[in-house]
């Protein structure tokens, strides 16, 4: 597997002296889906702005497919990596949706018909047809979010970097967006790096997590990270509710080898456990149940 992104010993200080990143090391394989988690102000956005060369590395370096970002030309970086920002209003800068989506391809030097093809494809795959001539300020927040994703997709980058894609979306639009992203990864093998506070979305959205809090605290599969109670607590992180719930069911004698992270996993896990136990399991309150529940509570409690 090739490395899509390599970050080596990256540190960054804002001009006013705020240390936002310290000694960050990171490796993302091609086709992988990575989630970056960490509290408000952890440096997630700052890190992402280094990936596409918006911020020059002051210390350390970033490589895309083995090439140092600071030595690449803008046009080359843009071909490799597309970035969707936190606030869609920052990134929809043209008066209509069509112009905005066409903006990237035009900058890449494509000609009329190619541009139109790219725009059509992006619009189709995000279900935005009919919106081409709309002004961004007449879109709902969820639509703006999808539009900003379409604008980046039209550039057909090999890596997609997304800053809190699910924030402020209603549950329906959120599910829809998650589906779209996974399809992109599936069908076109696009590598993804996603910063998010939405822990319930992580199991569906990421193969691996980087926990960031100015420095990289830990990396691992969602399961590995969510299992590390101490790590979670120290870095103000959280765990999906389903995971917590199955964890507490263990106090009642539920014997689950693998705690589920999403509802789907929960159902299939439940089915499997019951089936392997001969179609039938017990839950009971035994002498240690209450102590165990208490411990469980402490593990996830934030205060």
């Amino acid at each position: 597997m090739r490395e899509a992104i390599t970050v080596r010993d990256l540190s960054y200080k804002y001009p006013d002296g705020t240390k936002a990143l310290e000694d960050v090391n990171m490796e993302v394989h091609e086709g992988e889906r990575i989630a970056i988690v960490g509290p408000n102000g952890a440096g997630k956005t700052t890190l992402m702005l280094h990936l596409n060369g918006t911020f020059r590395c002051m210390e350390g370096e970033v490589e895309l497919f083995g090439k140092t970002v600071s030595k690449l030309k803008r046009a080359e970086i843009v071909k490799e990596i597309g970035m969707v920002f936190q606030d869609p209003d920052d990134q929809l800068f043209m008066p209509t949706l069509f112009d905005d989506i066409a903006f990237g391809p035009i900058n890449q030097g494509l000609k009329g018909d190619e541009v139109r093809e790219r725009v059509d494809k992006a619009i189709m795959s995000l279900g935005l047809s009919g919106y081409e001539d709309r002004a961004p300020h007449r879109l709902s927040f969820g639509e703006k979010k999808k539009a900003s994703l379409a604008a980046v997709m039209a550039m057909e980058p090999r890596i997609l970097v997304l800053d809190e894609p699910t924030a402020n979306l209603d549950p329906y639009s959120r599910t829809e967006l998650i589906g779209i992203l996974n399809e992109l990864n599936d069908r076109e093998g696009i590598t993804m790096v996603i910063a998010t506070h939405d822990v319930n979305a992580i199991p569906e959205l990421a193969d691996r997590i980087y926990a960031l809090n100015r420095r990289i605290i830990e990396t691992g599969t969602p399961r590995e990270i969510f299992f590390d109670g101490e790590l979670l607590k120290q870095n103000k992180l959280d765990v999906p509710d389903v995971f917590k719930l199955f964890d507490v069911m263990r106090c009642f004698g539920f014997n689950c080898d693998k705690l589920p992270l999403s509802l789907d996993e929960a159902v299939s896990g439940l089915t499997r456990v019951i089936e392997t136990a001969g179609g039938h399991i017990h839950l009971h309150i035994h002498e240690h149940t209450h102590d165990e529940v208490k411990k469980w509570r402490e593990k996830y409690e934030h205060h």
């Binding site: 918006t54 803008r74 970035m83 209003d89 990134q91 800068f93 008066p95 900058n107 009329g112 300020h137």
Partner: protein
């Protein structure tokens, strides 16, 4: 508190003006506006105004919308009409507390008003019949420097973002009991609120620049447009420019 620009609210109607090629439309009507504001003769100015009204009618824009957009000019013109008849020397028609209302002054005042009104009326078929972003693109096609075209695009887009943002801030201020009066406290508060607003706008400017760069922005490229002149576009261009020119040439020919 602040209003939204809605000049292209009726750009999706259908009329000869709506179908007119935006580039030709801009050129032709700009020439007409310049031609009318330079008229010196009241009769000709009235003919210009009549022409302007005909073009406006041809554009099928609703009357309410039209009145809303020309009311500002009417306010602006009022002091001229009220003061000029008394300040220009000439044949007195009417005396009033030592002031003399003159025929020449009245005529000049009306001339100014008619020219102003005609010009602002022409702006409507020129601008309000095309989506504003397309008008900006047309300017680009007409060889306006690319830097300026892009500034128009981005500025136009962010006006909407900021109107909404400012409305929200204003609501938050009112919700905390603030009342706009003309006193020092209110003015200084407005000053501080505007200061915050500018800081946020400036920071947004940074983020917009980052987003632009992330999509490979260079100053060079243009937007994708396709304008095509059709026979009817040529006809209208000739009609409008012909009218503009004849306002100046015909009286000259008559005299000689």
């Amino acid at each position: 508190m602040v209003e939204y620009p809605e000049i292209d609210r009726y750009s999706s109607l259908d009329s000869v003006m709506h179908r007119f090629d935006p580039r030709a439309k801009l050129i032709a009507f700009l020439i007409l506006i310049f031609s009318i504001v330079l008229l010196q003769d009241l009769k000709l100015a009235f003919i210009g105004l009549l022409g302007a009204i005909l073009f406006l009618i041809a554009s099928k824009l609703p009357l309410r919308f039209v009145l809303q957009h020309i009311k500002w000019v009417c306010f602006f013109i009022v002091p001229f009409i009220l003061i000029m008849p008394f300040s220009v020397h000439g044949t007195g028609i009417f005396h009033f507390h030592g002031l003399t209302l003159t025929y020449e002054g009245l005529e000049y005042g009306i001339l100014v008003a008619v020219r102003a009104l005609a010009a602002v009326i022409i702006v409507l078929p020129m601008i309000a019949t095309t989506r504003f972003d397309i008008t900006i693109k047309a300017l680009g096609e007409l060889k306006m420097p690319n830097m300026l075209v892009q500034m128009f695009m981005f500025t136009y887009r962010y006006i909407f973002v900021f109107v909404i943002e400012f409305q929200r801030t204003w609501r938050a201020m009112v919700a905390r009991g603030f009342q706009m009066k003309t006193n020092l406290y209110a003015l200084r508060t407005i000053g501080k609120a505007l200061g915050t607003f500018f800081i946020r706008s400036y920071e947004r400017g940074d983020r917009v620049y980052q987003a632009l760069r992330a999509r490979g922005y260079t100053v060079k490229p243009k937007t994708l447009v396709e304008f095509k002149m059709r026979a009817s576009d040529y006809v209208w261009t000739v009609v409008i420019i012909g009218f503009a020119v004849s306002l100046h040439v015909v009286p000259f020919v008559e005299v000689t």
